[in-house]
Every structure is written in structure tokens, then in C-alpha cells.
């Protein structure tokens, strides 16, 4: 008998009991749908995290001062005072590096008129807005001249400006007091949101790093260096070059422990996506269990169906169906159920992913490979769980089957 005939017979048999067929399919629909939805949400979340991290600055590499050891006492990371402006200066010479910003941070009370606010004061240089790809809302960023002269100029983050002066008020030209110093506001950043570390980047104020060193804190060292590679592709090479340059300027002997730590944006993205992909795998795994249950549901119904249709099988054999015709019929029935169920499941999963996108503003991407995986799994379930009932049907003795009540 031709394949076409087998399909014809199987489809007619399925059509004869639409409710049973639909209920059996439901297991597959829910199983495949759940897998697709979970994978879509997970993949979407991963993409969104990547996007957010990229938004914090392009191709950024951060050099942080390492731990320092005083006698046998090891202090925590960032406590070393060995990171100097000279280290940053050396990085400027590297061909893989585009921009370099020295960083000296402190937390201070900002006072403007009768308002005040405790915020992060970020000492940096003119490369900062370039590294972060961060435009200003009002005024200008401070100049190289300001850095050279450790001028008392300040650029406010949008939150700080809103708190001290009110929303959408241009405070450029006004003064704000930090400790005993009066700083002139030269600019206000646009809102940027949280960084990849979860820190609110708008609750910050920026001054020349020299000003932090000389006027606010009285220190020689800097806390960190933020650099950007010339392109996203060169970030690994740039990271390597930074490490080499740092070891030179820090005068470290071969084998000696690093006095600094280099963190590229790739590392940060890596951490974040690793977390979310673990989550995605977990959810997909749970969803796969429901796929399994759907498959067992198919086997269950097919087994019941074989018993229920014993007389039909006997009749088919009496009028000329061979064992393999019956086997193929039941196998094709199971495969059709699981494939059609799988296709509807993909559709359902896609719709639910879209719904989540629309309701919760959740990013959801249905990856192509998850669709192929679902279809493959559905076919496998059909063949695997359909084979046993089909073989049982094919092995029936026509005389016994015809007599079956």
C-alpha cells in the first residue's frame, strides 16, 4: 500500500473521532507551547541584558586597583593606592585603545541653595562622555583645560540636577557646594538609567579627576581607569595590551601577582548571559517534562484506541489489510497527532511569547533552533510512543479481533 494511502486511511481514522484526536493533541500543544514560550522569554531576556550592558558604554574595559598587602594583612580589592595617572597615560599610547579616562571617586554632600543631596562624585577626564556614548542635556562637559588646572567645575547626572534644581530646569552657570568648595555647574547629562552592575548612573556628578585628587581628597593615586577599545572586535586584544602595559608601568617582576584587575565588557556580558541562560535552560527543562507527559498521553490514548478499535482492526485485516498496513496506520496516526500538535504548539508558544511581550514589555524572541528542536521532538514522541500501540494493533489475530466485544 502506498504512503499516500496510509496517510489517507490514518487521517480518516483520526477524523472519525475528532474529540479524542483533539484531546490527545492537547498534550503535545501544551508541551511544545511551553518549551517555545520559555525558550523565547529566556532568549529575549538574554538579548535585552546584552543590549542594556552595551548601552552602558561601547567596548569598555575597566582597570581597577587590586588588593594591597600590608605586612601579612591583605586588604580588599580597590584599596591599593598604586594606580596612578601615569598608568593611564601609558595606556593612551596603545594603538588598540581609543579613549582613556582616569577615575577618582568619592561620596560627598552636594549643596545648592536650600537643597542638598549625597551623591557619588566621579573624578574623570574629558574622554568620559565619549567612552560612555553619553550626550549632555544642558551645557557642555568640562574641558582639558579644566583637568589641567584642577578647576572647580561640575557636570551633574540628571537625577542630581532634578533633585537640587527641579525637573527640566537648566542649572548651568549656577554654583553647588562640595565640602568647602564652590563648583560651577557646566553641564547636565541626559538620563541613562542603571548600569550593568545595577548602579543608578544618573545619581552621579562629574568633576575633573585632578580636582578630586587635589581639592577634595588630597590624594596622589586614582581608583580606576576606564578605557575603550577602538572596536568591539579588538576588545580581547585591547584587554591583553592593557594588562601588558599595566604590568610595565606598575613595574611588576615576571611571576609577581597583578596589582590591578582588568574587566572587559565582554566579561560583564558573559556573567550576565550565563546567569540568564542557566535560567532559560532550567525553564526549558521544566517545559520538556510536560512534553514528555504529552508523549505518554499519546501512547496512553493510542493504547486505549487499539483496544477500543479491535473490531475495526479485525475488519480491516479481514478485507485485506496486512499487519504492516495496520502498523503503519497507527504509527502515522500517532505521528500526525504529535506533528500537528507540535505545529499548533509552536503557534501557541509564539502567541504566548508575543502576549508576554505585549503585556509585560518582556522581550521575547522565538529562536529558529527551538522550533526545529520542538518539531524533531514531536516527531520522535510520535514514533517512540506510537510504535508500541501500533505493533500491538498489527499483531492482533483477525479472528480474535473480529470476535472482540
Amino acid at each position: 500500500m502506498s504512503v499516500f494511502m496510509v496517510f489517507r486511511i490514518a487521517l480518516k481514522a483520526l477524523g472519525r473521532n475528532k474529540l479524542r484526536t483533539a484531546l490527545t493533541m492537547l498534550g503535545m500543544i501544551i508541551g511544545v507551547g511551553a518549551v517555545i514560550t520559555m525558550v523565547a522569554l529566556g532568549t529575549g531576556a538574554q538579548a535585552a541584558i546584552k543590549e542594556q550592558i552595551k548601552a552602558t558604554g561601547t567596548n569598555t574595559i575597566t582597570v581597577m586597583s587590586g588588593n594591597f598587602t600590608s605586612g601579612a594583612v591583605r586588604m580588599g580589592e580597590g584599596n591599593s593606592s598604586r594606580l596612578m595617572a601615569a598608568d593611564a597615560q601609558a595606556l593612551r599610547a596603545l594603538p588598540q585603545i581609543q579613549w582613556v579616562a582616569e577615575g577618582a571617586t568619592t561620596r560627598q554632600q552636594l549643596i545648592a541653595g536650600n537643597q542638598n543631596w549625597n551623591s557619588q562624585i566621579q573624578g574623570t577626564n574629558v574622554d568620559w562622555p565619549l567612552i560612555k556614548a553619553w550626550p549632555l542635556k544642558f551645557g557642555q562637559f568640562f574641558t582639558e583645560q579644566d583637568v589641567q588646572s584642577a578647576a572647580k567645575v561640575i557636570v551633574l547626572g540628571s537625577n542630581v540636577s532634578d533633585i537640587l534644581y527641579g525637573a527640566d530646569v537648566d542649572p548651568v552657570g549656577q554654583n553647588v557646594r562640595v565640602r568647602n568648595h564652590v563648583f560651577r555647574i557646566v553641564g547636565v547629562f541626559t538620563a541613562k538609567g542603571a548600569s550593568s552592575g545595577g548602579q543608578n548612573q544618573d545619581d552621579q556628578a562629574f568633576v575633573p579627576f585632578t580636582t578630586v585628587q587635589k581639592k577634595i581628597q588630597g590624594i596622589q593615586h586614582i581608583n580606576n581607569i576606564t578605557v575603550s577599545a577602538v572596536s568591539a572586535e579588538s576588545i580581547a586584544a585591547a584587554t591583553e595590551a592593557v594588562k601588558v602595559s599595566m604590568r610595565t608601568t606598575q613595574a611588576l617582576a615576571p611571576g609577581e601577582e597583578d596589582t590591578f584587575r582588568v574587566l572587559s565588557q565582554d566579561d560583564i556580558i558573559g556573567f550576565a548571559t550565563q546567569q540568564s541562560s542557566t535560567m532559560t535552560d532550567l525553564l526549558a527543562g521544566i517545559a520538556a517534562v510536560s512534553l514528555m507527559v504529552g508523549g505518554i498521553g499519546i501512547m496512553n490514548i493510542m493504547l486505549v484506541s487499539v483496544t477500543e478499535r479491535t473490531r475495526e482492526i479485525g475488519l480491516r485485516m479481514a478485507i485485506g489489510a496486512r499487519g504492516r498496513d495496520v502498523l503503519m496506520q497507527f504509527l502515522v496516526e500517532a505521528i500526525v497527532i504529535s506533528l500537528v500538535g507540535g505545529a499548533l504548539g509552536i503557534l501557541t508558544g509564539y502567541l504566548f511569547a508575543e502576549l508576554a511581550k505585549w503585556l509585560n514589555n518582556w522581550p521575547a524572541v522565538v529562536p529558529l533552533d527551538s522550533i526545529f528542536m520542538a518539531v524533531g521532538f514531536a516527531a520522535f514522541v510520535g514514533i517512540f510512543f506510537g510504535f508500541y500501540p501500533a505493533r500491538k494493533a498489527a499483531g492482533l489475530d483477525p479472528i480474535e479481533a473480529l470476535r472482540f466485544e
Binding site: I9, R16, M317, R322, G323, P398, I399, L402
Partner: protein, 261 residues
């Protein structure tokens, strides 16, 4: 040449330790155009005989020539082909596929016909022709549950005819039918037998049903104990004409409202 020729047919079942000898050496010939009634009490071996004649079962020993071909040693798959091509089954319980139109039911053996593949349109044509023979062309799209018992059995007869078999094998074809419908169904067998020369074998335990045939074979204890010509053959068409017409409420599926699509 006989349609059916069996020689010393034996069938032994093994039930645990002991043997059941259902057939103990049966030899007979059936010529084309005969209408054979097979009777006997239950356990006489008539069912086993029918299963072997119908190629549903194989004899333990002996020879079975169907249409000039020895089928007693064929494989399972080849037997399925024999059932499809050479045998037309009619059962007591009709055995129509539920929720399947009369036309599709009649067509079913054509789908398993691997010798002669045909297009859907040709299958339809042949199925309609078979329904015409049993007088049911009007109801080709009806489901079995929309048909009376007699009509269902007529659909089953049309199905048995579709592959133009060498013999129609009917196992208690009137067992589920009332007297009037029984006569109707036996009338169809007689008509097929007389008008078209189709060989018919009816297995029944009712003597009055057996008397519609031309030859009576009686089984007892796995042997043929009587094989004779039926002298006073009943004629279903005449009997039906003599009966009063059926009351309207006995024809529940005749109203147009029932002709659901």
C-alpha cells in the same frame, strides 16, 4: 473447475497440554454459482472451516485450493492479499466503520487492493456501482448510525462485492436482524447468486435461513456429516411479496429530516 476444493482439511488447536481437533479431515468441492449453506451446532467446526475458507486461518494439514491456487501454505501477508482479492466477507455484526459514510465503507477494500491501484474517482464509481447492486445509491453519504440494520448489512454486502471476489462468505448474516429484514438480506444473496452467478457460502445455525441455498453442508464434531442438494429451496423475493408492507415506524431513517450531511 471448482472455486473451492479442500482435501482432508485438519485443524488442531493446542490449549495448554491437550489438543482440540476442530476439523478432522474435511474434503469437498464448491462449483462456481453454487449457494452453499453450512450449518451445524456450535463446536461442530463450522466456524473453523469458515475461517480457513476465508483465509483468516491456516489448516494444520490438508489442502485448500481456491480458484485454482493452493492457499493452505501461504504467508500471513499473502493471505491478506487473498482475503482482499478473492473473498468477500459479510458478518453478523455488519462491522462497518462508524462515523464513515456508506460510500467510504464500501470503498475500504479498494484501499488495501495492492494488485489494482485506482484513482479516487474510479473508486467512487465502483463503490457507487456496488451500492447500486444492493439498492442503496440514495444513501451513499449516510453514516452507519443513520441506517437500519438491514441497510447496514446491505452496505456490508456491497463492500464484500467491491473487489469482485470469487466467493462471498457470510457468517450468520441474519443473526442480528428481524424476520422481514432477514428475508430481505437473503433475497439479495439469492439475487446476486441467480442473476450474477456469484458463489455464496452462508454459515448459519438456523435451518430456515439455510434453505435459501442450493446445497446444504452439515458439520458435526469436525466432520461433514451431510452434504446434499436442497430440494425445496425457499425464494426470498416471493416471500417478501407475500408479506404485508412494513409499518412506517419500522423505517425510522426514511424521513428527509434524517438525511443529515
Amino acid at each position: 473447475m471448482p472455486v473451492i476444493s479442500v482435501r482432508d482439511l485438519q485443524r488442531v488447536y493446542h490449549m495448554g497440554d491437550h489438543e482440540v481437533r476442530a476439523l478432522r479431515g474435511v474434503s469437498l468441492d464448491v462449483e462456481p454459482g453454487e449457494f452453499v449453506s453450512v450449518t451445524g451446532p456450535s463446536g461442530s467446526g463450522k466456524s473453523t472451516f469458515m475461517h480457513i475458507i476465508g483465509a483468516l486461518d491456516k489448516p494444520s494439514s490438508g489442502e485448500y485450493i481456491l480458484d485454482g491456487k493452493d492457499v493452505s501454505k501461504l504467508s500471513k501477508d499473502d493471505l491478506a492479499g487473498v482475503r482482499n482479492q478473492k473473498i468477500g466477507f459479510v458478518f453478523q455484526g455488519f462491522n462497518l466503520l462508524t462515523r464513515t459514510t456508506a460510500l467510504d465503507n464500501v470503498e475500504l477494500p479498494l484501499l488495501y487492493n495492492s494488485v489494482r491501484k485506482m484513482k479516487a474517482s474510479e473508486r467512487h464509481k465502483r463503490a457507487m456501482a456496488a451500492l447500486d447492486i444492493v439498492g442503496l445509491t440514495q444513501r451513499f453519504h449516510h453514516m452507519p448510525n443513520q441506517l437500519s440494520g438491514g441497510q447496514q448489512q446491505r452496505v456490508a454486502i456491497a463492500r464484500a462485492l467491491i473487489n469482485e471476489p470469487s466467493i462471498i462468505l457470510a457468517d450468520e448474516p441474519t443473526g442480528n436482524l428481524d424476520t422481514r429484514t432477514s428475508i430481505e438480506v437473503m433475497g439479495i444473496f439469492q439475487r446476486l447468486n441467480i442473476e450474477r452467478g456469484i458463489t455464496v457460502m452462508v454459515i448459519t445455525h438456523e435451518m430456515d435461513i439455510a434453505e435459501y441455498g442450493t446445497r446444504l453442508i452439515r458439520f458435526r464434531d469436525g466432520r461433514v456429516v451431510a452434504d446434499q442438494k436442497i430440494t425445496h429451496r425457499r425464494n426470498a423475493a416471493d416471500e417478501l411479496a407475500a408479506l404485508p408492507p412494513p409499518e412506517p415506524d419500522q423505517m425510522p431513517h426514511e424521513e428527509p429530516a434524517q438525511q443529515a450531511h
